[in-house]
């Protein structure tokens, strides 16, 4: 379970997170939406422990992330899988080595066990014949799949997706969303996904949270639609120009 309480963060003079509170139950998949530059990535990085808040708390189960250091923080991070916006694959390594890297550095698995695991993981994300390619030689969709495979390879319990569908064509983007949904279901992961695929995203998430002016507006989703009376959230989801939020 992830619980965020009254998070505040000012970056280079702008209050990016004003007062963010959020709750994701175990096994739940939350869709995080919001305009570009609204601070979605910043929020995810806080939950991942990559950025420290100015004030507020983040709880992972019963552990206060802000109070953890060294070994304990590492134990929490071991439970995370993170698919970054850019993929964040190591571009000096092949796909195979990208997946093998955390296993070689952090586990005692033998090279043949590592190989077995990588083959299995690549099959799960439906990637074939790319083991010896470098990230620069992959298409956008393949990069995201590789990033997903790398995020899953250490058997995480909590997974974060930062705009995994941005920059992909609509058909591949939807295929990717379905793939993420399937992985999350199969492994019973707790997760947060940032995506602009509306309304497709509502069919894999159980809850929607919108980051707007540094705070969260949230609503549950069921059967591929969201239930909300909030006008700001409605306007964003419907993509309307007219409404409480003005776009210049």
């Amino acid at each position: 379970m992830i619980r965020v309480e009254n998070l505040k963060k000012t970056l280079t003079g702008t209050e990016v997170l004003r007062d963010v509170s959020l709750r994701v139950e175990k096994g739940e998949f939350l869709a995080l939406i919001g305009g570009s530059g609204s601070g979605k990535s910043v929020l995810l990085k806080h939950i991942a422990g990559l950025m420290q808040p100015d004030s507020g708390r983040i709880w992972i189960d019963d552990e206060d992330l802000g109070s953890l250091r060294g070994r304990k923080l590492e134990m929490i991070r071991r439970r995370y899988g993170f698919v970054f916006q850019s993929g964040a694959l190591f571009d000096s390594m092949t796909v195979y080595d990208n997946l093998a890297f955390p296993l070689r550095e952090k586990t005692k698995l033998s090279e043949s066990e590592i190989k077995e695991k990588i083959v299995r993981e690549l099959e799960q994300v439906e990637l074939h014949g790319v083991e010896s390619k470098y990230p620069a030689q992959l298409s956008g969709g393949m990069v995201k799949r590789t990033a997903l495979a790398r995020a899953l390879i250490m058997d995480p319990e909590i997974i974060f997706f930062d705009e995994p569908t941005t920059g992909l064509d609509p058909i591949i983007a939807d295929a990717m969303l379905k793939l993420f949904g399937r992985c999350q279901q199969r492994l019973n992961l707790t997760g947060i996904i940032v995506s602009h695929r509306i309304p497709q995203i509502f069919s894999i998430a159980q809850k929607v949270a919108m980051l707007h002016e540094g705070a969260i507006v949230s609503a549950p989703c069921e059967n591929g639609t969201i239930q909300t009376d909030n006008r700001i959230l409605k306007q964003f989801v419907e993509g309307a120009i007219e409404g409480p939020v003005r776009y210049e």
Binding site: L50, Y80, L89, K106
Partner: protein, 257 residues
């Protein structure tokens, strides 16, 4: 008015002090990887290949020309006081004590240091550094420490190559072109060159290697956002390193020679 000025200066002051502090901690944390194994030998080897091996051509070329121009200028000056015979020591001592370490360091900074900054800066902006942290791996151990070790080793060797090719370049001009006896050129070098000169030169190149990789990695690690941030960081890295090396060179020279 006075208060505002004081506050303003104070603001700038703390900003710079904080920066110096941060870069100092960066250096200490990186060097601490030496005490806390594992040490990534493979990465060190690859860095030596990049910083050292791939710079040898450049160093040989510039070393030879530096030695040649030193011989030309030195010969003309020495001739006025009638001591052309001392051309060898002039060339060798200038190179070993001063020009070899400094010029090699500046050249390698331009060639490899800038690339190091750009590379780390891109890894930072692509979130590769974050990805590494989330794997529970210390990016300093994988990216910075190997570069520092490789920088120190490579630059020391490259400086030697620079010195040797420089002395040979001086030989070409002094002996082959200007007709100095070859026995005089090398004989006088071995008569005047002392162990202290060589050791001093080595100290210089060791410290320059560390300074170069420290500043270049630091600038890459704390880069700005996007392509503009990366290009700024790269420029700053080269300029800061060059200035720092020249200033440091002065102090080292006053202390060790």
């Amino acid at each position: 008015m006075f208060v505002r000025l004081t506050l303003w200066l104070g603001g700038i002051g703390t900003f710079h002090i904080r920066r110096v502090g941060r870069s100092g901690i960066f250096l200490i944390e990186s060097l601490a990887c030496l005490l806390t194994p594992p040490i990534k030998w493979g990465r060190i080897a690859r860095r030596i290949q990049f910083i050292g091996w791939q710079s040898t051509g450049l160093i040989c070329l510039t070393g030879a020309f530096t030695g040649m121009v030193l011989a030309l200028q030195g010969y003309n000056t020495l001739k006025r006081v009638g001591s052309e015979a001392l051309l060898g020591p002039l060339v060798a001592l200038s190179l070993i004590r001063e020009l070899g370490p400094v010029l090699a360091a500046l050249l390698v900074t331009g060639r490899a240091g800038s690339a190091l900054t750009a590379e780390i800066s891109i890894m930072r902006n692509n979130e590769q550094v974050d990805a590494m942290k989330l794997m529970g791996l210390n990016p300093l151990r994988y990216l910075v420490f190997p570069a520092m070790v490789a920088g120190v080793i490579s630059l020391t060797i490259l400086t030697w190559i620079f010195d040797v090719t420089g002395i040979f370049g001086g030989y070409l001009i002094g002996v082959k072109l200007l007709g100095l006896p070859s026995g005089t050129y090398f004989g006088e070098i071995s008569r005047y060159l002392e162990m202290d000169d060589i050791v001093g030169g080595i100290y210089k190149s060791l410290s320059f290697g560390l300074i170069m990789t420290w500043i270049c990695c630091y600038k890459g690690y704390y880069t700005g956002i996007g392509a503009e941030g990366a290009s700024k960081a790269t420029t700053q890295a080269v300029v800061t390193t060059s200035v720092f090396i020249l200033i440091w060179d002065f102090f080292v020279t006053t202390v060790i020679f």
